[in-house]
Symmetry: C2
């Protein structure tokens, strides 16, 4: 008995043999960590007793040092529980619960660094070494911190301050996610420079980055392996379990892609390289972003998850009173449909520091001219839209695209027909604001060189919001959009903008990872295939918007630029025979609810709204900041129905969308307060609506509803429905029937 006890105690206290285990607060998720007999670090995850991620390895390669993937010992473990709530500055909900169990494992490894080879030494006579090469004994510590929430697992690596690891280059992060089967997967290919692909839905075994949708179509692209995919990665098992893999808090680290083992269904991290062929330059203490695995047997709970936000650092903005969710219109869609141009003149070779733009012959189609901008200002002011984005206001658009040009824009000099002072004053007189546009053409070096001037210019003229863009190949040349340098750039711009009280909408930036909690002035980003692709390419299939919330939007809001009413492009250009938005008009309205963004665009031309002011009313009414969100029904790739409560208002909005299959969405209004009546305005597809054949027909109905009402919303193929629910007035009672 004594010996059994001794053995038991020995086992209990011998970290190396037993697995460490923590469970989510509700007990459903179970995370185990252990070392195997090679001293490799292994974790696994199960949900309701069934394996989600089988034993998976964790480790790194560091330039000039022995591998950091084996021969580990556990020298410390700490567990803790955290349970609190916090209120985001803006969001899908007012209050977020942060409840997790944490396990922090400190690993130590003793290794021996091999001496430099003679060849290496000789080479270094002529070319100094570019990294520290450790020779002899080296002891390194690595902390792996696991947090298990009810909605999923997050873990990250931390390199604590330590004598033998200070400045180092990662050449590889080797984190495995060994999945349990050939799951249905919603994926876009791993690409160092773009995330603007439409999703492929295949089994893991069928992933092929070189054969997916839109390969070769996106102008700046770097596919690197046939079995590479990006995150957020959405999967559904044959058993009906939903799994989402992504990152949280991507700071000072390259973007993580995934390599798929199409036979064993294992995923392995693949970090975006830098200009010198390694992955990350780090200095201890350093931490990686969180790797996140969100799990549920309900698709709606995937969308409910706030885990990624919970894993991010709190807001850095002490006084966020200047940060405001908003709606915008803009001199923008007309550029995409070819009605007008960004450029002022039709020349193809300008130098912003030498060309006298006032001497160029205007092409007569320049969109950002005083008269046109005033028209948008008037429209916005009339309809309660906060901001007017103007693209093409500044010199340099004549040759901005595709030339890998460094000194491409100065962000200061307007074209001759754009009076920056007059227009901003005009907007202010009407109670609205222009929204600045900083297309950088991916010349981030140029943008950073000019950033203080550009932001000061904004302050001077009264702009407080800027849409940035990074179309093209990155400068500093050799870097990628997804590399550590650009991750730092995007974060730096957001952080610097705080000093100027400026809000950001970034396009062609890295897909978000919840950093809008830390930088709440970073309202939204594109970082995926948006509505604009419909104007000039094969566009977005009807299922696209039913996938994005399960993928791209898991990390943060998206500036999808919905609200296109004039569905077909041939009205603008008869050569655009097939280009169209791949949804019905009603679905475009629904997107204001289903595509979360605190900055939402009413993207179409004012005249297209003026023709359909009844439908436009939804856009005017819908909120952009929320107290609560209910995901009523959802299936990735198929359909989505959700309801949201406007912040500080007794108003609810529902959006229901479907893919290429028509369906009836059901929305139980039991979230409404009891005993209160509301008028629901339903913006719907008609029975004969069809995204391809008859996309622009719609009907609007109003009913009295209450918390006992169940709405049945018939959606056309590629269709949707949008519902506003406002308190019913006595007038409403008289006019409208009760919904049945």
């Amino acid at each position: 008995m004594k010996y059994t006890l001794l053995i038991f105690l020995f086992l209990v206290f011998n970290f190396s043999i037993l697995a460490q285990n923590i469970k989510s607060p509700d007990g459903n998720l179970s995370l185990s960590f252990k070392l195997n007999d090679k001293g490799e670090a292994i974790y696994n995850l199960s949900y309701k007793g069934k394996s989600v991620v089988e034993d998976s390895k964790m480790g790194f390669e560091i330039k000039g040092q022995p591998t950091l993937k084996n021969d580990f010992k556990i020298v410390d473990t700490k567990t803790s529980t955290t349970n609190n709530t916090w209120n985001p500055v803006w969001g899908e909900v007012k209050t977020i619960r942060n409840h997790y169990k944490e396990l922090a494992v400190t690993l130590e490894q003793k290794a021996v660094g091999k001496p430099k080879t003679e060849e290496q030494k000789n080479k270094e006579l002529f070319v100094s070494a570019d990294s520290y090469h450790h020779v002899g004994d080296i002891t390194r510590r690595l902390i792996i911190r696991f947090r298990v929430f009810n909605d999923g697992l997050g873990f990250r690596y931390e390199f604590p301050q330590q004598e033998q690891l200070k400045y180092f280059q990662l050449t590889d992060e080797h984190t495995e996610f060994n999945l349990t089967g050939n799951h249905k997967t919603f994926w876009i290919p791993g690409d160092y420079d773009t995330n603007e692909y439409a999703y492929n839905t295949t089994k893991l075994s069928e992933v092929n980055a070189y054969k997916g949708k839109n390969v070769g179509e996106i102008s700046t692209r770097v596919l690197f392996a046939d079995n590479a995919v990006q995150t957020p990665l959405m999967m559904k098992t044959d058993e009906g379990l939903y799994i989402n893999i992504h990152e949280a808090s991507s700071i000072n680290y390259p973007v993580m892609h995934m390599m798929v083992d199409r036979k064993s269904f294992g995923l392995t991290t693949h970090l975006t390289p830098n200009a010198v062929g390694t992955k990350a330059f780090l200095q201890t203490p350093a931490k990686t972003p969180w790797r996140t695995v969100i799990v549920s047997d309900k698709a709606t709970e995937i969308l409910d998850s706030k885990m990624i936000l919970n894993l991010n650092e709190p807001s850095k903005v002490k006084d966020p009173s200047w940060i405001r969710p908003q709606k915008m219109v803009g001199v923008w869609w007309e550029l995409h449909v070819g009605k007008s141009t960004w450029n002022y003149a039709d020349v193809n070779n300008v130098k912003i520091d030498k060309t006298d733009f006032s001497k160029l012959k205007p092409n007569g189609k320049h969109g950002a001219n005083n008269e046109n901008v005033k028209r948008y200002i008037d429209f916005a002011a009339k309809h309660g839209i906060d901001g007017i984005l103007v693209e093409g206001w500044n010199v340099g658009w004549e040759d901005w695209f595709g030339n890998w040009k460094e000194n491409v824009f100065d962000f200061l000099t307007p074209y001759p027909d754009f009076d920056v002072e007059m227009l901003n004053k005009y907007a202010a007189s009407k109670g609205v604001k222009l929204i600045m546009h900083h297309e950088t053409s991916a010349s981030a070096a140029n943008y950073e060189r000019r950033l203080d001037e550009a932001f000061s210019f904004m302050n001077k003229y009264g702009y407080d919001t800027v849409k940035t863009g990074y179309v093209g190949r990155i400068i500093p040349r050799g870097e990628y959009h997804d590399g550590q340098t650009m991750v730092n750039h995007f974060n730096h711009v957001a952080e610097r903008a705080i000093d100027y009280k400026i809000m950001i909408d970034s396009h062609e930036s890295t897909r978000p990872t919840g950093l809008h909690r830390t930088y709440p002035n970073w309202l939204t980003s594109e970082a995926a295939r948006g509505n604009e692709f419909n104007a000039w390419s094969s566009g977005n299939p009807p299922e696209h918007e039913t996938i994005l919330p399960f993928t791209r939007l898991m990390g943060g809001p998206m500036d999808y630029t919905p609200g296109i009413f004039e569905i077909r492009m041939k009205v603008y250009d008869e050569n655009r025979k097939t280009e169209q938005v791949h949804t019905t008009l009603a679905k475009q309205l629904a997107l204001y609810v289903t595509m979360y963004s605190p900055l939402q665009m009413a993207a179409d031309l004012p005249e297209n709204y003026e023709k359909r002011m009844d439908a436009f009313q939804f856009i005017k009414d819908v909120a952009v900041d929320w107290d609560d969100t209910k995901i009523l029904e959802a299936e990735p790739g198929d359909y989505l129905t959700m309801a949201r409560k406007a912040k500080n208002k007794d108003e609810w909005f529902i959006g229901a969308i479907t893919d290429e299959n028509s369906r009836t969405a059901t929305a139980k209004l039991d979230f409404l307060p009891k005993g209160k009546k509301y008028v629901a305005t339903l913006y719907m597809d008609t029975d004969d609506a069809d995204w391809e054949k008859n996309p622009m027909v719609y009907k609007i109905q109003k009913f009295i509803v209450d918390n006992k009402t169940n709405l049945n919303l018939k959606l056309a193929n590629g269709g949707g429905a949008a519902v506003s629910i406002l308190p019913a007035s006595s007038e409403d009672f008289r006019r409208f029937k009760t919904y049945k």
Copy 2:
């Protein structure tokens, strides 16, 4: 007869057959240009009827396009003469004559671009092309502009604006300089990242970059070929002809190195590559820097040459009244000799945005502390020195070196013991100024990100001069100090500084090419092996300072930091047994004349000057801006004697230096105005002085001199002499004898 005439006329007007020729105004230099039977562009240069550069080819390789090196036709030639004078804001002389004959040849080439291969097309499906690939007929024009001055030849290439050449990447510039023999050559190895080598003096056939001086010693180095050398390149033929090859006006182009054909004695340009392996990103209209060949049978005339300045663009500073040549002392040498430290604490891992420096344990040896800085301020004010450089004033020095660290300095945050406001006010109260220090640690991306803030900070506290540094591997990573990106960076900093009325002294920048004419606020630079190497390395051999004016200083002034009186380092650190300045004390004084810089440092510690105020008097008296310069005698690698007239003053200063051989320098004072008497103060080596055995002995003598005086100055080995010539007062007549 008629036929002969016709043939003659045909030949005359057929550009393709006859060579174009222009001569220097005095007829000595002759430049010829022609096309050979392959349509290759060929130039040659002769001097007084003898060949200096034999037939040499000219051309380019452009990515994605056919070669641009042959099949040229001449479509236009223009010749012209220019003869004017201009006055630099500051300089070695007050007025510079710009007199040259110019030949501008317009070449046209018709070629056919090959189609992309199947392999290329397939690859581009996955990875978008990074340059424009021209298929089919392509017509390109290239202008070569030659200017022949009395002192040499300059030529550059111009890519005019043209339909089929807009944005392009150069992969090679192929400019030959086919020399006529195995010349004696003063060279340092081609290195993309450093120019801090001591010179090797060998025949061309013996050039070996991998076996020269200091190989493997300089911390950031990239030697790339055994037959590569840098410019300025100085040569002397067996016939006694002096030839100097360099560049002028290096703007938006990588630094030019040279590949030496050790058998044929031909040189070919080798441009520094960028992070993506090409050489330059250009947009038409574009021009290369001038390639310069300065020629004379007199070594003194090489040093007299103003051709490189004449080839630069005029000053961009409309009102240069804020630009002032100056002298400085500094908290600097004490750091190099180990008496104090740049860093405040002895930790080796800090983060400027996270570390609380006030909580670190000070090492007690921090040089840039209030008390010490005040001491330097007092010293400067007492002795009429304008500025006090302070290195190590700002946080981040604890781990700045060798870690390839990006966020290394913020240029704003002082250490706890440096009161920026108090010290600047203190300096102002004494009529002197602190000089700012921006060591960037080669993290140019970080510097540009912070530049406006850093310059505003300078304005706020009253600094108007900054010494910049670029020690380490460049960030953006993958770039080199000598690449196009960094050339643009250095130029950008100088140009941006104009907006803030800030003067620049750049260290570890690219060797200058006369741009201080265009940016007269860019007072000086290091960009070569300076005096500091003597403090902590094998140092600079005695001949070093007799070579630098023929090499490094051909392109611009050098902050050599002369004036070290305490010659041997072991007084500071007994471990530094052999480190010493490799000159006598008197030679250190002479350097203030022979090492031209409008910003000159009295580099030693105040206490070392206070011990020898008689010698220090020369440093106090010597001017830093000049009306006139006379090179009295010179031989590269051996000796140098020159006299300069202080700007707007009736004062002259003479400097005479020698290598490891003692000699007598002769200085005829026939440049003095007739009929006027002056008192000459001679600071000289004693008879037993010796740079190695007895370097610190010196004698000072005063004499009455006039324009008939010939001074004979005995120089010890590694020695020198400095002479100030000021108007004689009646008191001087009484006290001093006439020189014989």
